[in-house]
């Protein structure tokens, strides 16, 4: 019992921490991976909260597909958040 509580609290802290990391991180690829981590943590939390269906969905869609879509986008655009202003046209 207590172990779940501990795990849960740690996960919650991790969740917020990686959310902050995702926001602060200038390298978008790391930020995206942080969101992937958030999905992972979430799906564990869902599992603990007795929602296996949701956990599975979050795992399949949140961790894998969303991250991939983000990565593809980054590859097609820019990896650095503070890209230099480009005036050449």
């Amino acid at each position: 019992m207590i172990i779940y509580v501990v795990i849960f609290s740690i996960l919650a802290v991790l969740l917020v921490a990686s959310a902050l990391f995702a926001i602060i991180q200038k390298d978008l690829l790391y930020a995206v991976i942080a969101t992937g981590v958030i999905s992972l943590i979430l799906s564990v939390m869902f599992f603990i909260l007795q929602a296996p269906d949701v956990a599975l969905t979050e795992a399949a869609i949140g961790i894998a597909l969303t991250t991939i879509v983000f990565v593809i986008t980054i590859r097609n655009t820019t990896r650095n958040e503070d890209e230099k202003e480009i005036n050449s046209k």
Partner: protein, 243 residues
């Protein structure tokens, strides 16, 4: 300055959210007494097994009680594919839809993908076939299948997805879903009514009437749609790198 204002604003929002959730105690039993069927959740828990013959209540809700939502949801994905196609559309003559511009990946990855691919697909199909029995179902299974295709798309430059097949799978699955729904209407019942296929015994593969059929259709459709999304995204020609 703007930072501070925004943080202040968000804190106010947060305060009111917390305030609101004070009314909603975590873990309280809000379903009411088990016999009180006026609460929607309680009704589902009490009646699902008996009335639909499905073990997984969530599946019953998704596919049957709130099947209309799911129809909408599938449509949303379908629209996302269509929309993506229209947003990222390039005329053929510009030669961008033809091939993906990924580098040939390593031999290791290629082999690994090749070995993993059937298993992933199989896992996905298993998940959506057993949606009414175990956790998981059409969406999860579909997503897993799409992941399998993703592996192949990344690993092999020349891995061609048959657009025709994708369209067929997607359309046929969608048509199945709606037709089963319409069949209920035609037979004099209501849209999506679970009446014309026997319910079967609980916890066996062939149970739940139309529920597994629809969930399988959803699985195929979601798989096709997600794969389609990935395919479109992976076919974009990366813009020239600006220094």
């Amino acid at each position: 300055m703007k930072n501070i204002i925004v943080i202040a604003l968000l804190l106010v929002v947060g305060f009111y959210l917390v305030d609101s959730f004070n009314y909603i105690k975590f873990g309280d039993n809000r379903l009411g007494a088990p016999s009180d069927e006026k609460t929607v959740g309680a009704y589902y828990l009490n009646n699902t097994v008996e009335k639909t013959g499905v073990a997984n209540v969530i599946t019953a809700i998704i596919v049957n009680y709130r099947g209309f939502d799911t129809l909408g949801e599938v449509t949303v994905l379908f629209l996302a594919t269509t929309g993506l196609g229209s947003i990222l559309y390039r005329r053929r003559k510009e030669g961008e839809h033809e091939e993906r511009v990924t580098k040939e990946s390593s031999y290791l990855l290629q082999t690994g993908s090749k070995i993993l691919f059937p298993f992933v697909i199989l896992l996905g199909i298993y998940v959506f076939i057993h949606g009414h029995l175990t956790p998981g179902g059409g969406f999860q299974g579909g997503a897993i299948v799409a992941t399998g295709f993703l592996l192949m798309l990344i690993a092999y430059k020349n891995f061609k997805l048959g657009h025709n097949q994708l369209t067929w799978v997607e359309s046929l699955a969608g048509i199945t879903f709606v037709s089963i729904g319409m069949w209920g209407l035609i037979t004099g019942g209501t849209f999506l009514e679970n009446s014309f296929i026997p319910k079967g015994t609980l916890n066996s593969l062939f149970s739940g009437g139309i529920i597994p059929i629809i969930y399988i259709a959803v699985g195929f459709k979601v798989a096709a749609e997600l794969t389609g999304v990935l395919d479109i995204l992976l076919s974009i020609k990366p813009s020239k790198i600006k220094k």
